[in-house]
């Protein structure tokens, strides 16, 4: 175990212990002899929507946890592909065009922007930094996209931009957790887990929630971003690879034939069924289904997840690099997976944290290279899904965990050697496409230097609510009871962003 994993593990334990302590009190209160109070509370909670709507019924069948299920209302999206750029890509060099900021380039940052704010690394008075890329308007929607994404610029009329996304977390791990699990702390299920819990998956031979990473490093928050939290563990993300074995340990040991593997799994399950007959523990049923699924994955996954069987022109389109693990390969794999009925594919690409403390972290070198590595694949993904008639039913989301400051970063008061920006929570850009999202729309605006939202502000919960909405769920009704109260992905907030829904 790496140190980070140990830390994560300790944090999980802490979180669980704290929650256990709280659990006792809450539980006691609930079962207290103040019957009237309980009734009143019940009525209040009922009126808050925590009542007895059908989605509150637990949807978990341990013997068949991933069988496809219907959402409460027909959703436009059958699958989700979430492209998370870990590190936080700079919206000011990609989508949020701020000519006013150019005029302030090199000037001291006004006090009004610094007062009362916490920054990750900026200290003292930093200098304003104008956009480090040229912008132009694209498509009929006249969306502003920088020269860093020449291919994606042709997709302006296909996507909807959210230009005023806000968060309250300025560190990577909590911010990533917030966007994907609805809480900056460990312990909550990720969006993919909620999706597979609520909808199952169409293809029982493949995992329902797949995770693909690229960029050279894990996202800061680690595996918890695709963890199942308090949902049954079967709903956690399955990390797959676009190179080599698609899933770790999917290959049987040398000398064991497929038939023998099947026979041994059959034996294990037969024995487990005996165990279940004796003890009636539903977890045993779950284990039986996990082993069956493992076997099905062994059969199907290598074939489905082999991107090398794609024709050459597809490889050209995505810009894949056979033999290496990279973002383009992962994107192509994502398309293949949703084609085959996988419910939620989460891609993490690391390396967007352009502080400017080194060339790879700079806006003029590092960021440009990161853009080059994703521009073609993302464009190809949208076009390929579209031509296959899948974009209508696949929700694609792209974004980071926060934005970057209009000021140039000066770590410890000293200006960084390269152009870079610090973490910025107030305003950043995320885009969505497909799955019932409007084409060529923009929602939300920031002020003239891209510091604060001036209209259409949305946060992580709103994005989660919107994604759940496209899948056919009312985020307020889609809950899971844990520690005596119903939990939901969007915690206690979130509003569906109707402005970008077609």
């Amino acid at each position: 175990m790496t140190r980070d994993e140990l830390n994560a593990h300790r944090l999980v334990k802490e979180a669980k212990e704290t929650e256990l302590r709280a659990f006792t009190r809450r539980h006691f209160l609930k079962e207290s002899a103040m019957g009237l109070g309980a009734v009143a509370m019940g009525a209040l909670l009922g009126s808050c929507g925590f009542g007895n709507k059908s989605t509150n019924a637990i949807l978990y069948d341990p013997a068949h946890p991933l069988l496809p299920k219907s959402p409460p209302f027909p959703g436009k999206a059958k699958s989700v592909i979430y492209l998370h750029m870990a590190g936080a890509p700079s919206q000011l060099e990609l989508f949020d065009y701020k000519p006013e900021l150019m005029k302030m380039d090199g000037q001291d940052c006004p006090q009004s922007l610094l007062a009362g704010k916490k920054f990750a690394f900026i200290t003292g008075v930093p200098k304003m930094l104008g956009p480090q890329a040229k912008f132009a308007q694209h498509g009929e929607s006249r969306a502003w996209i920088s020269e860093n994404l020449p291919h994606f610029a042709t997709m302006a009329d296909e996507v909807s931009f959210l230009k005023a996304v806000s968060t309250d977390q300025f560190n990577h791990a909590p911010a990533q957790l917030l966007i994907h699990t609805g809480s900056p702390r460990l312990g909550r299920p990720s969006m993919g887990s909620w999706a597979t819990y609520g909808l199952g998956t169409e293809n029982q031979n493949l995992p329902g929630f797949v995770v693909l990473t690229s960029g050279g490093s894990f996202p800061d928050a680690g595996k918890s971003i695709w963890g199942s939290g308090f949902l049954p563990s079967v709903y956690q993300g399955v990390q797959c690879r676009s190179e080599g074995d698609p899933v770790l340990f999917i290959k049987d040991p040398q000398g064991m034939s497929r038939d023998l593997r099947k026979a041994s799994i059959d034996a294990i399950n037969a024995s487990n069924e005996q165990e279940f007959a004796t003890y009636n523990d539903p977890e045993i049923l779950s284990r039986i289904s996990q082993y069956e699924m493992a076997y099905r994955m062994q059969i199907s996954a290598p074939e489905v997840m082999n991107i090398n069987d794609e024709p050459q022109y597809i490889h050209e389109m995505y810009g894949t690099q056979p033999g290496r693990s990279c973002f383009a390969n992962n994107v192509l794999l994502a398309r293949k997976l949703v084609e085959k009925g996988v419910r939620y594919v989460q891609l993490f690409d690391w390396g967007w944290d352009a502080h400017g403390d080194g060339p790879n972290n700079s806006l003029n070198i590092g960021l440009k290279n990161k853009c080059r590595s994703i521009d073609k694949p993302v464009t190809a993904l949208l076009l390929d899904l579209k031509q296959r008639g899948l974009l209508e039913e696949t929700l694609v989301v792209w974004g980071g965990e926060f934005g970057r400051t209009p000021m140039m970063e000066n770590r410890n008061g000293v200006q960084n050697p390269y152009n870079g920006r610090d973490h910025h929570t107030d305003a950043f850009t995320i885009w969505m496409a497909g799955g019932g999202i409007k084409k060529g729309a923009t929602y939300g605006e920031t002020d003239e230097i891209g510091y604060s939202p001036v209209s259409g502000k949305v946060d992580a919960f709103d994005i989660q609510a919107t994604i759940l909405n496209q899948l056919g769920f009312d985020h307020e009704q889609f809950t899971y009871p844990f520690q005596g109260r119903p939990f939901r992905l969007t915690d206690v907030g979130g509003k569906v962003i109707h402005d970008i829904i077609a």
Binding site: V234, Q236, V247, L248, P253, G255, N272, Q290
Partner: protein, 119 residues
């Protein structure tokens, strides 16, 4: 190797305990031990192995299931001795199909629900 602080019940976890080289190694040594100390009869060997693993005797139904698995594997390895050799891995002393078949059974035993949740 996958860290296992959480007893998670997922296909991924199943693949680890089924196919991770470390677990295959454990299965090999377990099989050799069963062969060495379990007597001549395969059923005894399996029963003994279960006893070591679970600190209780194996129910008859399960013994039957594992016995059948052994026979299937043995048939296979008698026909494909090179496969047996591969499954038995590094060690060069015992390359009998019987031993290979026992490794398959050991691998299965280590994956039984009671074995997996106990550890």
């Amino acid at each position: 190797m996958q860290p296992e602080e959480d007893r998670t019940n997922t296909p991924l976890q199943a693949l680890v305990t089924l196919n991770d080289a470390v677990y295959i190694d454990i299965a090999r040594y377990f099989a050799l031990r069963m062969k060495k100390n379990g007597g001549k009869d395969v059923n005894n060997q399996i029963a003994q192995g279960y006893q070591w693993l679970m600190y209780k005797s194996i129910p008859d139904t399960k013994l039957k299931i594992l016995g059948n698995l052994y026979r299937t594997a043995l048939n296979d390895y008698k026909k494909h001795p090179d496969q047996a050799r591969q499954l038995l891995g590094g060690q060069q002393t015992d390359l009998h199909p019987e031993t290979a078949a026992l490794v398959v059974v050991a691998n299965a035993m280590l994956n039984l629900d009671e074995a997996v949740t106990k550890n």
